[in-house]
Symmetry: C2
Subunit: 212 residues, 2 copies
């Protein structure tokens, strides 16, 4: 098993977006090179961990010099798949769905919201920016007609599993789930959860157990 086929641990994968973010900052500040030691200082990791992480994907650095910021950034863009476009739909056009539709940063990164779906007649027909809110009944045909690869679930928890089932039937590739449930999807479908209340409750725990 060579490096390209090596299984990367989730711990490493979840740090990649952070590298991406910091390298982008450096790039915008016109910084050309950086050592693992300097990067470790600004990111709050150890230099050793940074070198280990990056070496999962290749030897991007140069002894005695460090890393070329632009080259490394481009590498990580590619590794994350941010050099591509993804057609997405948002299912559930309530406040959270609308907030995501309005958040243009995702679009800039290549995640294009093509349509939104809801069952509420008051919402159907409205537009968020240039994104139409459509009747959820038409979701399946829309996915097929528009090459949708990612479904973003912003429904209440009661509807989330049935929405996920429908998305899976349409051969969706990935699901970004904001509903506070653990969804069942087949192994070939990528599922990423954003469980906001778990984050808030963690904050609550830490507030109540400081100085212990």
């Amino acid at each position: 098993m060579d490096k390209d086929n090596m299984k990367i641990s989730m711990a490493v994968i979840r740090r990649l977006p952070k590298y991406h973010r910091y390298l982008k900052d450096l790039l915008e500040k016109d910084i050309k090179r950086i050592s693992s030691k300097e990067l470790s200082k600004i990111m709050g990791l150890t230099a050793s961990q940074i070198r280990q992480d990056l070496n999962n994907f290749g030897g991007f650095g140069q002894q005695g010099y460090g890393y070329n910021v632009e080259a490394l950034f481009e590498e990580i863009e590619g590794i994350l798949g941010l050099d591509k476009h993804y057609n997405t739909i948002i299912v559930g056009a309530g406040n959270l769905g609308q907030a995501i539709a309005n958040y243009t940063n995702f679009e800039k990164a290549g995640f294009l919201p093509k349509g939104m779906f809801d069952i509420n007649p008051k919402l159907i027909g409205l537009k968020i920016r240039d994104i139409q809110i459509l009747d959820a009944d038409h979701m399946e045909e829309y996915i097929k007609a528009n090459g949708i690869t990612i479904g973003i679930i912003c429904t209440p928890k009661e509807q989330a599993q049935s929405v996920a089932d429908r998305l899976v039937k349409c051969n969706i590739q990935g699901i970004w789930n904001f509903a506070p449930v653990d969804l069942n999807v087949p192994e070939h479908v990528i599922l990423e959860n954003v469980h906001l209340s778990e984050s808030l409750f963690t904050l609550s725990y830490l507030l109540n157990h400081r100085d212990e």
Copy 2:
């Protein structure tokens, strides 16, 4: 160092809200008792891990019987600090801030949004449910006058650090940060981040590296 003073690992802490959620489900289904083995099946953890996790906080089970669902739920509620109320403010009343203000589940869990702040004159004066959007200039006095303990940052990334600094000066206890930056706060202030794009980029990575 006895059990009550034992340092709990973040891995355990971040699983607590999940226990809370599943136990609440069981409670609503009127299930009275559950063994670590049954719970492991529905939660997708190992029974061993569940027993280890819970025993960080006390011996809540009974040999030969399992765990009393209601009692265990109440314990975890308490451990998470969800038996208390927290006055919160939302800083940044854009789409995301509004979505959070509208999400009544947080309120039901005891996190009470008392006010929202923005610098946009078009937003100041509006109400989300019964929550006023106020001029960000008045944030400091409002925090002091209303016993605010948690600040929720929903501003663009450029403003997030200065908002955090101001919150810290007002003796805020916790910050729930949605801005895509790593904030600097003193050690006694609890900081919990929701970095949505890191979650989305992780999904993107996994989409591009399936079957490896």
